[in-house]
């Protein structure tokens, strides 16, 4: 039996990116907030100091900062005819753990989605007719527009201090920025990062190809910055240990560098770490949450009553906790009914490797989000008539790292070991380069999440099961993007270009991205969405669910800027509407 703790106003589940933002916003509204986090507290000085943070084996190969699968994992199958099996070690994505969540070890690529992305089904139907959308593709409009989210994108970027160049200021195209982006109300907080050699060459080639290169928006800062909460960030030093690593320089925006020092000083805030929430509790009507139950490291169960529950546990754990708590109707792909587990999507990445002569890229002089990018082939920025697919992605030359265990590129035909391998690795390390395309992934009837019938966690609870595969639309898109990227790379004069379009089936053992989306999506119809436009549960009105869980499908960008914007958008709705009159913000 759980022991019952004194009630609080708000309980926040998970203290990562969205949990930190929501906890801060709720404290500012004068509420008492308890945040419950499964992993340990993490701080720059103690957990990723510059004296040893640059350890590829520990942090990348052995996953030191991530959740241990022994604590919780998921099972995976490509389609419903297969038996799902557990991911015994992480592969295609890396579930975060601990205070700061994915913000600790993200790359800082900080993108806004396109205005058309938020009304995808309507937009595509208007431009190409309903027939352009495959029958089993379950894409939806979000129920919120880009224009509504713009002030909240702005807030997240100014929290992070994001470095970039605007391409569209209040409708006026700006030279040097992304001409395809939605209108911004003002410039980025800091100017773009300085570009290394390969991105500079790529930008030149892209211009020659008639495209519109611009610096990737980066939350690894180009210069010192004091954010909107008074936190001071330093300039990025291009150490090349960004994604998978914590930043020792206070130059990558994370909850640690942008929110937590302000949050912990608030007397109405309390965090409990190493405590795993196992359930959201409901009252007898099933329509109100009464708080959460969690387990501490001694295996002791506690019940934390609260008036308002904010679920911020990352996409997959949000979905699992909703299923486990019996909130919302579980999705059934056979009937296409139900909402929890519906519209699960991912990211369709691909790459082009190029091998050069007489070039030295110093690949280790790198930063998580530095790079030159084109957006000409993203979303609906190009005419899809006759192409046989919808969607797109950004592409270009990032410069994330030159770490040798991970990043050794050899030309095709090179043996995997022996003297020839050794020579090829040595010759190509400074002069080869990996270019990337970052494609959208739309949602389908067959791609879904539910609870696994066989495999359990350490408490005997069913694991989450994911059923996912890439569909023809995404594979065609990936081929198209990869071909366009290779054409530009060819202009840079390499001796050899190797294309790696995404191919099926989806492979869960090879890292792609941690951009898991959907499963409890936002929308305007409770039959096809779990959350209303304010990320409030249709079923339990004192429950709000943050994160990419709410994306009805994924666009051709990294998710976190949109996740952050939605968090501020929801926080504003809670502060200005919900607290005055608790109940559904949208009538059912």
């Amino acid at each position: 039996m759980a022991r019952i703790l004194p009630a609080t106003d708000v309980v926040v589940i998970g203290l990562g990116w969205t949990g930190s933002i929501l906890a801060h916003e709720m404290c500012e509204a004068g509420l008492r907030v308890v945040a419950i986090e499964r992993g340990p507290w993490r701080d720059t000085a103690t957990d990723f100091p510059t004296t040893y943070a640059q350890d590829e084996l520990r942090y990348h190969i052995r996953h030191d900062l991530f959740l241990r699968p022994a604590q919780e994992t998921v099972t995976m199958r490509n389609n419903t005819s297969q038996n799902a099996l557990p991911m015994r070690t992480w592969g295609s994505f890396m579930p975060p753990n601990g205070v700061g969540g994915g913000g600790v070890h993200w790359n800082g690529q900080t993108w806004r989605f396109l205005p058309s992305d938020f009304r995808l089904r309507s937009h595509l139907t208007e431009r190409y007719g309903a027939k352009a959308i495959p029958e089993d593709m379950t894409i939806q409009d979000w129920g919120v527009t880009y224009e509504e989210l713009e002030p909240h994108y702005d807030r997240f970027e100014y929290l992070c201090g994001t470095s970039g160049k605007a391409g569209n200021l209040a409708g006026k195209t700006q030279p040097g920025g992304n001409p395809f982006e939605g209108a911004r109300s003002r410039e980025y907080p800091t100017p773009p990062q300085q570009q290394p050699y390969a991105p500079t060459l790529f930008a030149k080639a892209a211009l020659e190809a008639g495209c519109h290169p611009f610096p990737q928006p980066s939350s690894n800062l180009s210069q010192p910055y004091t954010n909107t909460l008074g936190m001071k960030l330093g300039p990025c030093t291009y150490c090349g240990f960004c994604e998978w690593f914590g930043c020792g320089n206070y130059s990558k925006a994370s909850p640690q560098t942008t929110v937590l020092p302000s949050l912990v000083r608030k007397l109405n805030f309390e965090a409990r770490t190493q405590c795993e929430v196992i359930r959201i509790n409901k009252d007898a009507s099933g329509k109100q949450a009464t708080g959460v139950t969690y387990v501490d490291t001694a295996g002791e169960e506690w019940e934390q009553p609260a008036d308002l529950v904010i679920l911020c546990a990352f996409q997959m754990f949000n979905v699992r906790l909703l299923l486990e708590s019996g909130i919302g109707k579980p999705y059934d792909p056979a009937t296409n009914e139900g909402v929890i587990g519906r519209n699960f999507s991912y990211q369709t990445t691909s790459g082009v490797d190029a091998f050069f002569e007489n070039k030295n890229f110093n690949p280790f002089v790198a930063s998580g989000a530095v790079g030159m990018i084109i957006d000409d082939y993203n979303g609906d920025n190009f005419d899809h008539s006759g192409l046989g697919f919808v969607g797109g992605g950004y592409m270009g030359a990032g410069m994330t790292n030159g770490r040798p265990i991970e990043g050794l590129r050899t030309p095709p035909g090179t043996p995997a070991w022996g003297a020839d391998w050794k020579r090829a690795v040595t010759d190509n390390y400074p002069s080869s380069y990996g270019f990337a395309a970052h494609g959208s992934c739309y949602s389908y009837r067959g791609n879904a999440m539910d609870l696994d019938p066989t495999y359990i966690d350490r408490f005997g609870r069913k694991l989450l099961r994911m059923t996912f595969d890439f569909h023809d639309n995404e594979l065609k898109m990936s081929q198209y993007l990869t071909d366009r990227l290779a054409e530009i790379v060819q202009k840079m004069g390499p001796k050899q270009v190797v294309k790696h379009p995404r191919t099926g089936p989806y492979n869960s053992s090879v890292y792609q991205t941690t951009h898991l989306c959907g499963g409890a999506v936002m929308g305007t119809d409770p039959k096809t969405s779990a959350l209303n436009r304010y990320l409030q549960s249709w079923d339990v009105s004192n429950l709000f669910v943050m994160g990419a869980t709410a994306f009805p499908q994924n666009a051709g960008y990294n998710p976190t800027n949109t996740v952050g914007a939605l968090a501020y958008w929801a926080a504003q709705a809670i502060r200005t509407q919900y607290l005055k009159n608790p109940g559904p913000l949208v009538p059912v």
Binding site: L5, T8, R32, P40, W41, D43, A45, T46, D47, T51, Y52, D55, E56, L57, R62, R68, P69, A70, T73, M76, Q82, N83, L85, R88, Q194, Q195, P196, Y197, P235, T237, Y238, G248, P261, V264, R265, L267, E270, A271, R272, T273, Q274, D296, E300, N360, N362, F364, V365, P404, I405, L408, A416, W417, G418, A419, K422, Y429, P430, P505, S508, S509
Partner: protein
């Protein structure tokens, strides 16, 4: 109001969350939970004899990894880079026992897309495969161990393992090949504190400067080779 509540909570919770080490549930409020020198630096490998391998196993591994990354006039091979020591220490530690991985049954063979599903830990995989390889060699090469057969035969066996054409009793030769190749490259390129990459030979070979934390001066120096020698977490030489 908030303060009073905090007192209340500390009285209810302190009793249970008394031990506030990193491994235990902890309550944080009012200030960042800092303790002086609370960092968790990596532990350099202990010098001395083999911790996991038997001397016989270690001898085979040294020969095997030296074929995977052979010496050349400029750069030592995996053996002299300490790769067998690296693997030995890894197998004796959490990696070797699959600590932290999901190891609950049932174990079933899945599709390649579902990832590794074996119940064998890396340490057990080495033990079983090395024993099977030894048995195979002694049968085929008149009682000789892998380390005592001619080098071209040693290489040929590795090729067969890579292709999946070598059948070993009680061991999956191809799976063993994959794991030892991966571990060999790790050992050749990981920070020297883990026992391999001795004198940073792997990093010097490709020109990776290691644990440098500030390259700002170098971002704009296009197409110019970075000239400084590598540095490890443990310092400039190990």
């Amino acid at each position: 109001m908030a303060l009073k509540r905090r007192e209340l909570l500390s009285s209810t919770i302190a009793a249970v969350f008394a031990v506030t080490t990193a491994a235990c549930a902890t309550t944080v409020t009012g200030a960042l939970p800092w303790t002086a020198s609370a960092a968790d630096p990596p532990k350099p490998v202990t010098p001395g004899g083999w911790l996991y391998f038997t001397p016989e196993e270690a001898g085979v591994v040294e020969v095997f990894v030296d074929h995977l990354i052979p010496p050349d006039p400029k750069t030592p091979g995996a053996r002299d880079a300490g790769v067998a020591v690296y693997i030995d220490r890894q197998l004796a530690g959490p990696y070797g026992s699959s600590a932290g991985l999901y190891m609950r049954p049932p174990f079933a063979d899945g599709s390649p897309q579902q990832g590794a599903q074996s119940a064998l830990t890396p340490a057990a995989r080495y033990r079983v495969a090395l024993a099977a390889l030894d048995q195979h060699c002694r049968q085929r090469f008149a009682g000789k161990s892998y380390r005592d057969i001619p080098a071209d035969q040693q290489v040929d066996l590795i090729r067969q393992m890579e292709k999946g054409s070598l059948v070993l009793a009680n061991a999956n030769a191809r799976a063993f090949f994959e794991v030892i190749l991966k571990n060999t490259q790790e050992g050749f390129f990981a920070d020297p504190i883990y026992g391999g990459n001795r004198d940073m030979v792997g990093w010097k070979m490709i020109g990776f400067p290691g644990a440098i934390y500030d390259y700002r001066d170098w971002v704009g120096r296009h197409n110019e080779r970075y000239p400084n020698p590598p540095v490890g977490i443990g310092g400039s030489t190990i």
